[in-house]
Amino acid sequence: MLTLSILAPIVAVIIIGLLPASKSEKPSKTMMYISMAASLISMAASFIAASGFSSVNPDFQLTEVWFTSVENGINWSFALDGLSLGLYILTAVLFPIGIYYSYVSFETQSAQGEAIRRQKLFYSSLLILETSVLGVFAAQNLIVFYVFWELMLVPMVLLIGIWGGKNKKYATIKFFLYTFGGSVFLIFGIIAILYYQTQSKLSFDLTDNLVMSLSQFPHAVKVYLFWAFIISFLIKIPVFPVHTWLPHAHTEAPTVGSVILAGVLLKMGTYGVVRFSLPFFPLVSQEYADLFMVIGVIGIIYGAWLAWAQTDIKKLVAYSSVSHMGYIVLGMFSGNIIGLTGAYMQMINHGISTGLLFLLVGIIYDRTHTREIDDYGGLAKLSPLYAIIFMIATLSSVGLPGTNGFVGEFLILLGTFLANKTAAVLAVSGVIFGAVYMLHLYKQVFFGEPSEKLLKIKEKISLNMTFKEVLLTVPFIVMIFWLGVKPGLLLDTTDASLKKILNTTVQAELAEKNLLKSVKAANIKTEIKKTEEGL
């Protein structure tokens, strides 16, 4: 089933490629149907796979092997565990929404007399992107992970570079350089593992074996490797001060690009931290935990303040992402199950709430063609249902209890508090600033008398959401409240795997102690020998 869900989009790319070239500038239903079919099959397959998931088992399950290559340690096999299941499903659900939204958006644009170009490439990029993200989350092998991690870059660069806004070139190059720069570190780290490994045959499979052999590396090497891995992840997350690609990428990307970027691509970074950095280098992670707490806190506050300073809706939401990702960083390095669970929950939450926010911004942008906050005002009067849905997204974003955002934020803050009081107290101020920028945005856009610009647009095109658009937001709304009151739906699946990751830290500590003991014992033995010899 995993194979099916990963490969279905690729099959669709081939079919779309075989379609006769058409010069039509109208939105193509055929391509939409093919892409939707593929992504829905992918989604259904992932649901079926997930139904066989056992939440008490902390290890990889649902394994599907493509081919193995024992000599060089690269098994092309895919599997899920509690750490990847949620993100995998989120990805599989977001893509059909993104694809269908794109079509709806094309229709809206076409109705306003705009030409829709290069649809073949557009849908192909989206589908390749889907395969690569699913591959990242399901990879059971470090090298396979890396292949998909890099593959993701190509369609994303195309999406921003071709269908982006006015400054797309600048944003694309920045996005590419940043991410590629990060990847250099990652590949360097992987090669270094190969160089330092002592076993005759090293498997890159993500099993306890790999963790074991890594734990035997000299400490200094572990520190270098830790940084090589984590720099790549930090850029992808992104954290302060390597975040400046994100506002550009988000503002210039087409709506679907922003939804996917915020929804799942950023999570590849945090996923990498929890998947690799924490279990591979438990003691080093612990050593630098305070540093990352500082980074997380700065991200929360800095991101929120800068969000407040924005005049462009998309940029505001982009900076809010920086703030939200700061919370996740905090939780990941809290070193306890409450904080780590919160971080994981927040990865999913951010995908839902920020994904919905970008989708909503896209829906209104299709009509108004402006993202300037000042151009809006009084939208609640013109489009009441849109206002309600935007309010729900806002509440989820500010972490109101009853929505998913609260559970994640609360767990992260509590977990952080138990680990580092100062960091937690500073981070709690994010609760205030989050409300400041989101309610500022909401007030400017929705309250007051309708702005003249909106009234003018209303004469040309209805600002009310169409039925299709409402339908697209329903899965988000359901998840916001479902996870808000029954977070167990998600958390029960992650618990065992997250505990196992924390356990590696405990075991590593024990091993370190034993190592010290044996070193001491050895020292004593040599001393005894020396004394004996002396005698």
Binding site: I173, A309, L414, V425, V436, K443, F447
Partner: protein, 668 residues
């Protein structure tokens, strides 16, 4: 069975919210009858269930553990566990009666008050029902996270209802201000919760009480926890320095002011202190701080109330002031007195607000008292009810407010830690209270002016902060229906007799009933725990204190009568230059302006500058610089973008092959 009833009582208002929420989405305004049935009905049934449960489960409720009902699990991670589970005990049943009882009366009132608001009728009741639902979670939840869910939930409803007329800019601004100010308090509350979790290992009340029953914790730890939690109360219950949102909250429709911003939500902080009695009673220094914050809040806001000209603004500052009294009581450990005042205040302040709503409605949405007067002739029953409420709040003997306020003042006087100063604060507030409330009565209902005439003449005059801005045909008073007057009469009766649950000990020579009740039902008996905080006073001193406070109540009445009835003074128009002190009071001591200048504006400036300088000029620019060095790569990249699909496909495939080659080949 009764468990299910309890859950039903809490969730029925939610069903009302859903029903009315859906009705509000209809293009045509929904039938008001249907909305009223859902809106009022759900709260009424909920109220009836609470009455039933009070009697059916009486022994369980007054026992320490209370009557509990588990609905479903919520958060369960590591050692943290919080469920949708409810606890109906002596404290929460007291609050549930007030919330659903007064809530129901105000729902009924709203069916009359909001009648003209046809397109928004369903939306209004949806919000109101959601509020009751959240408030019931606040008081009935069995753990702090569930209390917090209600706490933020009522904050959301408050935000939505203050900004109910969202097309009016001042309403939207006031809503935002309320939410953000509350969030500042919530941040403190969250930290308090964490500290408590670290100390006790749980956030469930029963486990927290169990912990305090078994361990003694030193006061320094509890002082910090109590202060953090109290920051939350400062926000929600509008105490210095976070009170500034409540007066602005009057932008919401008047029933909202009565329900949320007077009778129920704003008392959540007081309730929270009683709920966590073991924490606060173990924290004497923090409690002293609470008492003084309450005392100063009471005095400051009473000073502001003296000169306000908007009828709702007077009542808003009065509410802040009365909440100050409650915190004074909680701070000196007089929990019975604090909860007592919470109850009586809910009666008479709801009456005052709903009454002022009736005045506003009758006068076609006029709120400025300078445009009123002589209404007694036109609406006698309303005037009488207003007098009842005024007598109750001013502390004239016999009515509810007298008993509760007197109990607080006496307990403040005997407080060992600066009690005399506290008493003085409360005493001065009492004079001011009596003055401003009778000033309101005389200006509105008496004096030689005639509101009806003023209304018919002065169409051009600004409507103050008229919450609806109707362009009504100014002809005579709007008649007030039974659904407006009925709830007022009930509240009037409660305001008269509500005080008899707490007759003073110097009259009955017994512990006042309500004090004994809270000693029995709270997990720690406040009178015993706080006994050492108080000095003993002679019965004669107690009598003297009581007589003094009766004296000032009449003094305030007399002064107000003298100025506004005898001398027929009407407050000056806004533009008139006022004397220094009146100028300060009239402009609310410029607190809002100060906050804006020293807090809000600098923060916004820092945010703007951080974006323009740190983010754009420093971080991003240096990355660009790095980018320029790799210009070659950049130009190469551009050439890649041929725009021909097969080319891109080729890149993707070849890239994959190259990576695979490196990986496979490099390893062998």
């Amino acid at each position: 069975m009764n468990e299910i009833l309890l859950i039903a009582a809490i969730w029925l208002p939610f069903l009302g919210f859903l029903a009315n929420g859906l009705l509000s989405l209809k293009k045509e305004p929904a039938s008001q009858k249907l909305v009223s049935i859902f809106g009022v009905g759900s709260v009424l049934i909920s109220f009836l269930i609470f009455i039933f449960l009070t009697f059916a489960e009486n022994t369980a409720i007054v026992s320490q553990s209370g009557f509990s009902a588990m609905f479903f699990t919520w958060i369960n991670v590591g050692t943290l566990s919080a469920d949708f589970a409810y606890k109906l005990d002596g404290l929460s049943v007291f609050m549930a009666w007030i919330v659903t009882g007064i809530g129901m009366l105000i729902h009924i009132y709203s069916t009359g008050y909001m009648e003209e608001e046809k397109p928004h009728f369903a939306r209004f009741f949806a919000y109101l029902n959601l509020f009751i639902f959240a408030m019931l979670h606040l008081v009935l939840g069995d753990s702090l996270p569930l209390l917090f869910l209600g706490w933020e939930g009522v904050g959301l409803c408050s935000y939505l209802l203050i900004g109910f007329d969202y097309d009016k800019d001042f309403a939207a601004v006031a809503g935002k201000k309320a939410f953000i100010t509350n969030r500042i308090g919530d941040a403190g509350f969250i930290i308090g919760m964490f500290l408590l979790f670290q100390l006790t290992g749980s956030l469930k009340y029963d486990e927290i009480y169990g912990f305090f029953g078994a361990n003694s914790v030193d006061a320094s730890t509890l002082n910090i926890i109590a202060l953090c939690l109290f920051v939350g109360a400062m926000g929600k219950s509008a105490q210095i320095p976070l009170y500034v949102w409540l007066p602005d909250a009057m932008a919401g429709p008047t029933p909202v002011s009565a329900l949320i911003h007077a009778a129920t939500m704003v008392t959540a902080g007081v309730f929270m202190i009683a709920r966590l009695a073991p924490v606060f009673l173990g924290a004497p220094e923090a409690s002293t701080v609470i008492a003084f914050v309450g005392g100063f809040t009471a005095l400051l806001s009473a000073l502001i109330a003296l000169t306000q000209t908007d009828i709702k603004k007077v009542l808003a500052y009065s509410t802040v002031s009365q909440l100050g009294y409650m915190f004074m009581a909680m701070g000196v450990g007089a929990y019975g007195a604090g909860m007592f005042h919470l109850m009586t205040h809910a009666f008479f302040k709801a009456l005052l607000f709903l009454g002022s709503g009736a005045v506003i409605l009758a006068l076609h949405h006029e709120q400025d008292m300078r445009r009123m007067g002589g209404l007694y002739k036109h609406v006698k029953l309303l005037a009488i009810l207003f007098w009842v409420a005024a007598v109750a709040i001013s502390g004239i003997p016999g009515l509810s407010g007298f008993f509760s306020k007197d109990m607080i003042l006496e307990m403040a006087y005997t407080f060992a830690n600066g009690g005399k100063i506290l008493f003085l604060l409360g005493f001065m507030t009492a004079i001011l209270t009596s003055f401003y409330i009778f000033r309101l009565i005389f200006l509105t209902f008496h004096t030689s002016g005639d509101a009806v005439k003023k209304m018919e003449e002065g169409g051009s005059h600004g409507h103050g902060h008229d919450e609806h801005g109707h362009h009504s045909h100014h002809s005579g008073l709007v008649p007030l229906g039974w659904n407006i007057m009925g709830p007022l009469v009930v509240l009037g009766v409660l305001s008269v007799f509500g005080g008899y649950v707490g007759l003073p000990h110097i009259i009955t020579h017994k512990t006042p009933g309500i004090v004994g009740y809270f000693d029995q039902v709270l997990s720690v008996a406040p009178s015993k725990a706080a006994e050492s905080w108080h000095q003993h006073i002679e019965g004669s001193t107690a009598w003297l204190l009581m007589l003094a406070s009766i004296g000032v109540a009449f003094l305030g009445l007399f002064t107000a009568w003298f100025f506004y009835q005898k001398q027929n003074k009407v407050p000056a128009e806004d533009s008139v230059k006022r004397s220094f002190f009146v100028h300060l009071s009239f402009n609310k001591f410029f607190v809002d302006e100060i906050y804006e200048k020293i807090l809000l504006n600098p923060l916004k400036k820092i945010a703007d500058l951080s974006y323009k300088i740190i983010d754009v000029k420093i971080i991003d620019a240096s990355i660009d610089y790095l980018g320029k060095i790799t210009l070659l790569i950049g130009s190469y990249m551009r050439r890649l973008q041929t725009g021909v699909t097969p080319n891109y496909a080729l890149y993707i495939v070849s890239g994959t092959v190259v990576i695979a080659f490196i990986v496979f080949g490099g390893l062998n």
